[in-house]
């Protein structure tokens, strides 16, 4: 890892006690996000990590105001540059999206409009937010595609999404997201739908882009390998709540929450014994306890004690991290975890 470049600091986004409840007539309410708090500083790369269904994506959609308007209850705060994103009127929020906050989604083939050429989709953002004329926007679009590493951008602009390769589509999506030099970029599993080799390229591209422009990046992923290579701060989510939050080095060196320990232990290791079954966390995400009754992870936890179900575990703050566990793994776990990048 190279030296961390000096960046202008300052709080960019502060999400506190965010909760999202999906209400459906005739069905039980679903608490997708249940009191998530985290912060993002300017230029910082923050990871939101967790299994499918832990509320990562819903958190991102709630912050950007992209959840459907009906049947959803959003509570809490998301302060961005002095305003609360959650209570902002839709029009202002729409103006922010794409200009100040941009998003990159998981699957580029379904995130691009199949019947509209790439060029139109890129210029759309430029004319919308930067008030460019169509002519200027076209030039800028070619420049953008060039910057994200798409060869022959002029020709590509005229092509349709299905004519591009998977990696190139994701590059185009990223080009659209960074078109207005947003202050915050949210990447929701940006590499999940791509080949492993392309994944590395896309991550490298994202890293370069945010470093050069001092854009803050929220990486949403279930892949701890991605997190290890990119993020400054990592928030581990479980059942809609942040269970552990730490600086990358500290988290990988000594995970405290048993869930984090389990996640790190689940990574296949090159120096592990061959043929040995891979470690998995027992149970599934569906075996949860409602947070108000106790720690949601209890049913799957190997370190559970009686206190776990006595009520919601409090947040424990230490100098290098915060975690939500009554019986944490305080000694560095042996045999599990990835060595911190050194």
């Amino acid at each position: 890892m190279t030296m961390v470049v000096e960046r202008p600091t300052g709080r960019l986004l502060e999400v506190s006690e965010l909760s999202v409840v999906f209400r459906r007539r005739g069905q039980r309410d679903v608490r997708a996000v249940d009191g998530v708090s985290f912060t993002v500083d300017s230029g910082e790369v923050v990871g939101l990590v967790g299994e499918s269904g832990c509320g990562k994506s819903v958190t991102a959609l709630a912050v950007t105001g992209l959840l459907p308007p009906r049947g959803v209850e959003v509570r809490g705060q998301a302060r961005f540059g002095g305003a609360d994103l959650l209570t902002l009127d839709p029009r202002t929020r729409r103006d922010l999206r794409g200009r100040e906050i941009a998003m990159v989604f998981q699957d580029p083939i379904s995130s691009l409009n199949p019947v509209v050429p790439i060029g139109v989709q890129v210029t759309e953002v430029l004319t919308r937010h930067r008030g460019m004329t169509l002519r200027a926007a076209k030039l800028e679009a070619a420049d953008l595609l060039d910057r994200v590493g798409i060869p022959d951008p002029k020709r590509r602009l005229r092509e349709y999404p299905h004519q591009l390769s998977g990696g190139m589509r994701q590059r185009a999506m990223i080009a659209m997201a960074v078109a207005c030099q947003p202050r915050l970029l949210i990447a929701d599993e940006p590499t999940t739908a791509l080949d492993v080799t392309i994944q590395a390229q896309i991550l490298e591209l994202l890293k370069d882009l945010v470093r050069d422009s001092n854009t803050a990046l929220i990486m949403i992923t279930h892949d701890l390998g991605v997190v290890a290579g990119m993020c400054d701060t990592i928030n581990v989510l479980y059942a809609g709540r942040v269970v552990e939050s730490a600086e990358r080095r500290a988290l990988f060196a000594a995970p405290h929450h048993p869930y984090t320990v389990g996640l790190l232990g689940s990574i296949p290791r090159l120096d592990g014994v061959r043929g040995e079954p891979l470690y998995t966390i027992p149970g599934s995400v569906r075996d949860v306890l409602p947070w108000h009754e106790g720690c949601a992870f209890t049913p799957r936890c190997s370190r559970r004690v009686e206190q776990c179900v006595a009520g919601p575990p409090d947040l424990t703050q230490t100098p290098d991290r915060s975690y939500r566990c009554v019986n944490p793994e305080l000694a560095p776990a042996v045999g599990t975890g990835v060595k911190a990048a050194s």
Partner: protein, 330 residues
């Protein structure tokens, strides 16, 4: 995020219980995301159409019909309204096919072959104009309802409900009956026939486009566009709408078939063009009734022409619908 469009399980069998279901099914077909190869929907559909014998037969019939309708009137052996063989007509005797008159004469001594050719143009004209009418009005209502629904506001929801209940009302009536009622109100004219048949086709287009738009509104690219701050109007018009058109275009082909039959039906029942000397297949069929005992072939020609043409459009439309169906792919 891997938000898939909410795919309702499709009802078993080729035809749903209710016409509305069948329409909704078509709307969902085109909303299925493209497969991994990333081939465009249009291209894959065309590729599969070329391999289907049904589609080829349908296309050939439709093509022949269109050529006849366009070129026919210029190569007529006789003017369609001229009573060229009046002297050959005797009571109870109408001459059949001969070298001069390939399909014989009708009861007024007019050349049947010329009338058939000319009638093709009338039929095509009514069919196309009526379908276009139904398409435009239906797409307008369905488009507004679909857009209002996709915007998600309470007012939009309300507007969508009001428009769709009106469409359901039209849909509940048998199309031919609807066309008859409209034609009866408008009076006898060619325009009235076109409008009447068009009105009967309107609800299908409206419901189909709305369903298709709602299905598209849940696709990822719509979310992605919103995430970049693209305005709602632009999302609906520039992203959702163009992606919703495929099933509507397929329906237009199927509607052409029913429009031709319904137009002929209206003419047959005397609600068509008041100038009955201008040949139209439905009118010809009605006139042939009186001569059924003398020369039944006069009824057979227009009847067969109507059946073949409608069949051609149906074959083409149905195979297009099948080509769009992801369950039948590969």
């Amino acid at each position: 995020m891997a938000t898939q469009s909410p795919q309702r399980p499709l009802p078993p069998g080729p035809v749903g219980q209710w016409r509305g279901e069948r329409i909704d099914r078509l709307a969902e077909l085109a909303a299925t995301p493209p497969d991994e190869r990333g081939e465009s929907l249009t291209r894959e559909t065309l590729r599969r159409l070329r391999r289907s014998p049904m589609a080829i037969v349908g296309a050939v019939v439709v093509l022949m019909f269109v050529v006849i309708a366009l070129v026919g009137p210029y190569v007529l052996p006789y003017p369609p309204t001229a009573t060229v063989g009046l002297d050959q007509i005797r009571p109870g005797q109408i001459p059949g096919p001969s070298a001069e008159h390939w399909l014989g004469l009708d009861h007024l001594g007019r050349d049947e072959f010329s009338r058939m050719l000319f009638g093709a143009r009338q039929t095509l004209l009514v069919g196309v104009v009526a379908t276009l009418f139904g398409f435009s009005v239906g797409a307008l209502i369905g488009g507004v309802a679909g857009a209002a629904n996709s915007l998600g506001s309470r007012a939009g929801q309300w507007l969508d409900s009001v428009l769709m209940r009106f469409i359901d009302l039209l849909l509940a009536m048998p199309p031919l009956l609807l066309a008859f009622s409209v034609a009866a109100v408008l009076g006898r004219s060619l325009t009235a026939v076109m409008i009447a048949v068009g009105v009967a086709a309107t609800p299908i287009f409206a419901r189909l486009l709305r369903g298709s738009m709602i299905a598209q509104a849940h696709r990822d690219y719509v979310l992605a566009a919103s995430a970049l701050g693209v305005r709602r109007n632009r999302v609906v018009l520039g992203h959702i709408f163009p992606n919703s058109l495929a099933p509507v275009i397929v329906q237009a082909t199927l509607t052409l078939a029913t429009a031709i039959i319904e137009a002929a039906g209206l003419s047959f029942l005397g609600l068509g063009n008041p100038n009955t000397s201008i040949p139209e297949w439905g009118t010809m069929l009605a006139q042939a009734q009186d001569q059924l005992a003398v020369r039944p072939a006069l009824a057979v020609y227009p009847a067969v022409a109507i059946i073949i043409t409608a069949l051609g459009f149906t074959l083409l439309g149905e195979s297009m619908r099948e080509a769009l169906d992801p369950k039948l792919r590969r």
